[in-house]
């Protein structure tokens, strides 16, 4: 690895800019407003992100992108996580942008401009597991007919395009025989039903009933879709890990602030050693996870084809750290932390959904173990 895990000046500037923008345009109060209004994300914010160039963070300049790379994408995701900014950033600007790297610039330009919102329709069960994809894509002439159900599709309602993984050969559980399609979300036979999840984000169930797809819709090679989506998935997992690091930092920041201000038994509660040690332990966990996040971005930028282990370490660590940060957050706040009026619950809910999306702790732990030879 060439790059250092310490952020470069450019990365520090990017972070400051992102933080400045988000504190203006998307503080946690904005998320609450969306929630209260029943909005899973704010299209206006998405447009602004596009104007900031965030949608093009992974796109080549020819396609209107800034090509800043995965570490930069992680910095943006982390900052969004810290204020719970809801947007299709990971689905579109990270995963779709990575999956379509090879595609024509006009298609990428749609992502850069913010006009295209992508959803990745992959899981079919309650646990993330790409190889278990069973949805059928029947060959008929030189077209395909997609039939089956996809669940837990992030940004599935807002999306105007869908990347969907379906089986053109082989049987459920086999890594081979899958094909990745890039289709219009309005295509006939595709029904989308929004699901209300605790994080109040956009998660939908997609039902495909003989949805037509042509050879032009295929991304990568037929029957080799897992390869076509592999790096996109790793990119998404790394960005999600970064978001979860932001969620941890956001919850931790609220908690330490509260520990310094709240008084009880005539003392600031932050002076109780038992709470101090738990806070210090949490700080250590966050620092270690931050290293794993920085490393995942570095490996994706420098050696994307061998990023599985780095990405899985990041996602496993981020999942566990966020869980600890939000539980300590609620517990140390006491009753107030339990009220909807207070923001801590939002962090806890996002951490839970983020723990499941794109692979839970066990999924990523297994990938690490495999890579380490046991």
């Amino acid at each position: 690895m060439v790059a250092s895990l310490v952020p470069t000046e450019d990365e520090v500037m990017l972070r400051d800019a992102a933080r400045g923008f988000l504190s203006e345009s998307s503080p946690v109060t904005a998320f609450r407003a969306n929630r209260d209004a029943g909005r899973t994300h704010d299209p206006a914010l998405w447009k602004e992100m596009a104007q900031m160039g965030w949608t093009g963070v992974l796109l080549p300049e020819e396609a209107g992108g800034s090509d800043m790379g995965h570490r930069a994408a992680g910095i943006l995701a982390e900052e969004m996580g810290e204020v719970l900014a809801a947007s299709p950033f990971i689905s579109t600007a990270v995963m779709a942008a990575t999956a379509l790297k090879g595609a024509a610039n006009d298609r990428l330009a749609g992502i850069a401009s913010g006009d295209a919102i992508y959803a990745l329709a992959l899981d079919e069960g309650s646990k993330h597991n790409p190889a278990r994809t069973g949805m059928q894509a029947e060959k008929s002439g030189n077209a395909f007919r997609l039939t089956g159900r996809k669940v837990f599709v992030a940004d599935g309602s807002a999306a105007n395009r869908v990347l969907v993984l379906a089986r053109t050969a082989g049987t459920e559980g086999e890594a081979q025989g899958l094909t990745l399609f890039d289709i219009d979300a309005a295509r006939a036979g595709l029904t989308r039903s929004a699901k209300r999840t605790v994080d109040e984000r956009d998660h939908a169930q997609l039902d495909f009933d003989a949805v037509e797809a042509t050879g032009d819709d295929v991304v990568g090679e037929v029957d080799n879709g897992l390869a076509a989506v592999a790096t996109a998935l790793n990119a998404g997992r790394a960005a999600l890990s970064a978001e979860l690091l932001g969620v941890s930092a956001g919850a931790f920041g609220m908690t330490t602030a509260y520990l310094k201000e709240r008084k009880q038994f005539g003392r600031t509660i932050g002076s109780f050693q038992a709470l101090q040690h738990r806070a210090a332990h949490l700080f250590a966990e966050i620092e270690i996870t931050a290293s794993a996040i920085a490393n995942a971005g570095r490996v994706l930028d420098e050696d994307p084809d061998n990023a599985d282990i780095a990405v899985s370490i990041a996602k496993a660590r981020a999942t566990k750290t966020a869980k600890l940060a939000v539980s300590e957050g609620v517990q140390m706040h006491g009753g107030i932390g339990m009220t909807d009026e207070f923001d801590m619950g939002f962090f806890m809910k996002r951490a839970r959904v983020g723990a499941e999306w794109l692979g839970d702790y066990g999924f990523h732990a297994a990938r690490v173990a495999a890579a380490r030879g046991f």
Partner: protein, 401 residues
């Protein structure tokens, strides 16, 4: 004198007959739910007429408060008789005729600290479900520091003027009366200036506001006192204060230990909620069959099951110890371990249900809100930190700083 014979076998026959005869079949057939809980009180909407009938019939013979003395509206049963009664109730599917904070908390407080006249005045209204009580302890600024009571009563000779705010007052919006900790002496040391006061929720200046939790709506309220007039004695000359003036902390402490043991129970055995009595294994059978192939989930689940069963044995052991002379401050262990275990159980339930579990109202119904609600288990009724303080100082007798 009781309505039932002292002879246990005879009693079993009598009480079984009473339940069979007086509890309407419709109630016995109703699946247990919030709607089957009878809270009583002036403004209570009975889910059906049978619910009211069963409450009234049980109240007539004191079975809404089995162990309370007959003269105060109870059935005056011995512990052995109560056990038999519970057994027969369980057999019969009859729901509890009446539940309330009056039965759980104020009653025990009055029986321990009240005057004979106070008992005569307040207890029967509790047992027959006429008056519904709520509890007013916590305050916004206080948190775990329960004795930090700011709600104050100014002495106006024959009455008090009460001002302040209570929080976490369950069902305050549905209650007729509140028993509350009120500061009646601001110059005395923190614990010595509090009184255990009884206040009519219909009095001018009392208002309530429900609290929404991260898990959704809740029975909790904020309760505000704005220049509320509380007569020092009622028309019959009964004090509106339980126990001595400025000695309310003793009463509160007495009830807290009691409450603690109740809440600790949450951690033991097969919980209600999403599991609804099902074993973890039975629940897992309803899920993706490859789930338990994940060693992380499997290991966590096995450990949870081991600790849950061991906690159940501990609840049993402590109950028996309590009967044989009490467990004292060690009950804080039940509260601590039971609630932490229940939080862990729900974390694992969320983990094994994966993306289905995170829906507000999907496959697994109320799992998500239940999970979020458990986070309060280790806060309400004394935080885990307070329990650990109690254990280290009172049980292990470690020195204070």
């Amino acid at each position: 004198m009781s309505f039932f014979s002292d002879d246990l076998d005879q009693f079993r026959v009598e009480v079984a007959g009473f339940i069979a005869e007086k509890c309407p079949q419709k109630l016995k057939d109703m699946p247990a739910s919030d709607r089957t809980i009878c809270w009583g009180g002036k403004r209570f909407n009975f889910s059906c007429d049978e619910q009211r009938i069963w409450m009234e019939e049980a109240a007539k013979v004191g079975l809404t408060a089995p162990r309370w003395p007959v003269e105060y509206g109870g059935a005056g049963l011995s512990r052995a008789q109560e056990k038999v009664f519970r057994e027969e109730m369980a057999k019969s599917d009859a729901p509890s005729p009446l539940e309330s904070f009056g039965l759980w908390m104020l009653g025990p407080a009055l029986l321990a600290f009240g005057t004979h006249e106070q008992k005569l005045k307040y207890l029967p209204d509790i047992t027959n479900g006429r008056i519904r009580w709520c509890q007013g302890y916590s305050e916004p600024g206080a948190g775990s520091d329960l004795a930090n009571v700011q709600t104050k009563a100014d002495d106006k000779g024959d009455h008090w003027i009460v001002n302040g705010q209570k929080i976490w007052t369950s069902y305050a919006d549905k209650a007729d009366w509140i028993f509350a900790l009120i500061r009646t002496d601001r110059d005395a040391p923190k614990h010595k200036g509090i009184s255990f006061m009884l206040i009519d929720m219909e009095a001018d200046g009392v208002s309530t506001k429900p609290i929404k939790l991260i898990s959704g709506s809740s029975p909790f309220c904020e309760t505000f006192f704005d220049d509320v007039t509380v007569p020092k004695t009622d028309d019959e000359g009964n004090s509106r204060i339980v126990g001595e003036l400025n000695r309310g902390w003793d009463v509160a402490k007495h009830l807290l230990t009691h409450e603690r043991e109740m809440i600790g129970g949450g951690g033991s055995g097969a919980a209600g909620g999403i599991l609804g009595g099902r074993s973890l294994g039975a629940f897992i059978d309803t899920l993706d069959d490859t789930l338990m192939e994940d060693p992380v989930i499997r290991a966590e689940t096995m450990e949870l099951e081991i600790d849950t069963l061991a906690m159940g044995m501990t609840m049993e052991r402590y109950k028996d110890m309590a009967k044989q002379g009490g467990v004292g401050h060690a009950s804080a262990m039940l509260k601590y371990s039971g609630t932490e275990l229940n939080k862990r159980r729900y974390e694992i339930l969320m983990s094994i249900t994966g993306s289905e579990g995170v829906e507000w109202d999907g496959e697994h119904g109320t799992l998500a809100p239940e999970w979020l609600r458990t986070k309060a288990n280790s806060i309400e009724g004394g935080t885990s930190e307070v329990m650990l303080d109690i254990l280290s100082k009172r049980v292990l007798e470690l020195p204070s700083a």
